[in-house]
Amino acid sequence: MFKPLLSLQRVGKEFPARGTGKGLSYKAVNEVSLDICPGETVGLVGESGCGKSTLGYLVLNLLDLTSGEILFEGQNFANLNKDQQRALKSQIQIVFQDPQSSLNPRFKIEQIVEEPLRLNGWRDKQKRKERVRQLLDKVGLGEEYLARFPHELSGGQRQRVAIARAISLNPKLIVLDEPTSALDVSVQAQILNLLKKLQRDLNLAFLFISHNLAVVRHLSNKVAVMYFGRIIELADTNELFNNPLHPYTKVLLQSIPNINPEKPLLVEVEGEIPTLHKSPLGCSFHSRCSIANDLCREAGPELQFIKEGHWVSCNAMSRGRKE
């Protein structure tokens, strides 16, 4: 096996729950362990509020960890000095959901793509300009866009600019946080194809965060399903979609409307996603789970190895094994 590029080890992030007056905190990310290998795409799916974006920000070191550690190429970010941290940060980049708000409206496209270069020791102006042209070409934008402002571009073109900026420093890992959710399907297809091509050409690893399971399936090598701050199932893409084991994953897959009118929506899950105030004890899914028992209401299960390339966190799995 490859040595992992990025390794999350029991990573946790708590936010103080303000306004409750009880000094409570909210575990946005809870004991998450995950490896990403070079050139690989790991999909991270889950519903709003489950902690997927927070996890993405932790990977980028935009937030401080509450517990656990993150290793990038074997180095722990927390143990490095300022200069080393900076060098490491340029190896991990991000593309956000809404390019309208992630591009500076007062910068021209050239300035936007040039900025990371300027800040990372590209002193020679001519070389910078050359590089910007090259980058725009890589994402399929011509030279005529150099002098334009973001508002003059369509949503898909803006996302291309954001991608050009993200690859400008030759990163090894890009966190893609819902990169196509704001786009129409025909444009989404263009961007997904572009990402695939760049990944092949530049040997990039992606952490692909999305709530759109069809898109995740199309792009990812393996998929992690998050629910309420935890990874509840992790498997190779085909394995996960063909043989989901966690009750939540099953429900999630059944809830996707099928384009075939003769495959009706199956029985879906009742109830809502728990919130901070109504955080359930035990397994966080037990309040909506059809096979929950007393154990699930008391003890939260751990992620456990089922077979090569498949991990699940469900009490029913360990029950099944013991019997």
Partner: protein, 323 residues
């Protein structure tokens, strides 16, 4: 059977400093009692605008209806006064919006907002209206309706808010429900719940639904018929099974191919080019600059919807070649 809603040859333009943007370019829609009709298309194709025109919600200063008619229950809606529209909105024609937080008044309790319309349209007393509000909340499967009427919108989850909106839309006995991307802001498991609820309640009450969405799979799961819009025109309409399985218009075909398909690993096919500027739309068929089957007639004349099989209509000059 008489259609409940019949839009014929509707042209809507918007005045702007640069000229008139022709955003609806002669659209025809028929909706029969008790029917679910899906209206799909990408952003800016004119889907929401069509619904707003039916409700008389086009901005009076800038929007011009230059031609066409909108018949509801056999009566013309265009040219009615604001007062007449007020009698229709919420009573005979209701709308459910994409973002329920924006559609509800944040500073009134749920109960008050529901009671207000029941008193106005049904002439109920305060007490009767309160009981009716609770009954409707039960109808849309809200647990604890007595508690929810005393809560503010911010205290509810997205799914709950959408249920409240649906209850409000149906509570005065509307025959026509315009649902504008009702589940786009929701998570998949909640989306499945709301879609099922909409279908159940509308079937039970015999309400007709015009479901506006960009998601073909949502249409496949809920509607009997679908109309595909591109750039202010309806390019194809017909039974869902026909249109999704045997699409005839190149745009519908392209749209379906752009969707990530779980059964194939192949590269997604995107539609070349981008949506044209409506201030100077292309002559002839508005899709011709992006179409790979374009011929001479397409550049000159606008194709009309023609029958290709029972209830299946396509606006494309290529259909001539099949005959």
């Amino acid at each position: 059977m008489e259609p409940l809603l019949k839009i014929s040859d509707l042209h809507v333009g918007f005045l702007s400093y640069a000229g008139v943007a022709r955003v609806l370019n002669g659209i025809d829609i028929e909706l029969f009692p008790g029917e679910f009709l899906g209206l799909v298309g990408e952003s800016g194709s004119g889907k929401s605008l069509t619904a707003n025109a039916v409700l008389g919600l086009l901005p009076a200063r800038s929007a011009v209806i230059s031609k066409g008619s909108i018949m509801f229950e056999g009566k013309e809606l265009i040219g009615r006064s604001e007062k007449e529209f007020q009698g229709l909105r919420g009573k005979k024609i209701s709308m459910v919006f994409q973002e329920p937080m924006n559609a509800l008044n944040p500073s009134y309790k749920i109960g008050k907002q529901m009671v207000e319309i029941l008193k106005l349209h049904k002439g109920l007393s305060n007490k009767e209206a309160k009981a009716e509000a609770v009954r409707w909340l039960t109808q849309v499967h809200i647990q604890n309706p007595e508690k929810v009427v005393k809560e503010y919108p911010y205290e509810l989850s997205g799914g709950m808010r959408q249920r409240v909106l649906l209850a409000m839309a149906l509570s005065c006995g509307s025959q026509l429900l315009l649902a504008d991307e009702p589940t786009t802001a929701l998570d998949v498991t909640i989306q499945a719940q709301i879609l099922r609820l909409m279908k159940e309640t509308a079937d039970q009450l015999g309400t007709s639904v015009l479901l506006i969405t960009h998601d073909l799979a949502v249409v496949a799961q809920t509607c009997q018929r679908v109309a595909v819009m591109y750039c202010g025109n309806i390019v194809e309409s017909g039974p869902v099974t026909k249109v999704l399985r045997e699409p005839r218009h190149p745009y519908t075909k392209a749209l379906l191919k752009a969707l990530p398909n779980p059964d194939s690993e192949t590269e997604l096919q995107s539609i070349p080019g981008s949506v044209p500027n409506l201030l100077s739309p292309p002559a002839g068929c508005r899709f011709h600059p992006r179409c790979d089957l374009v011929k001479k007639t397409c550049r000159e004349l606008r194709p009309q919807l023609t029958t290709v099989s029972e209830n299946h209509y396509v606006a494309c000059w290529r259909e001539e070649d099949h005959v």
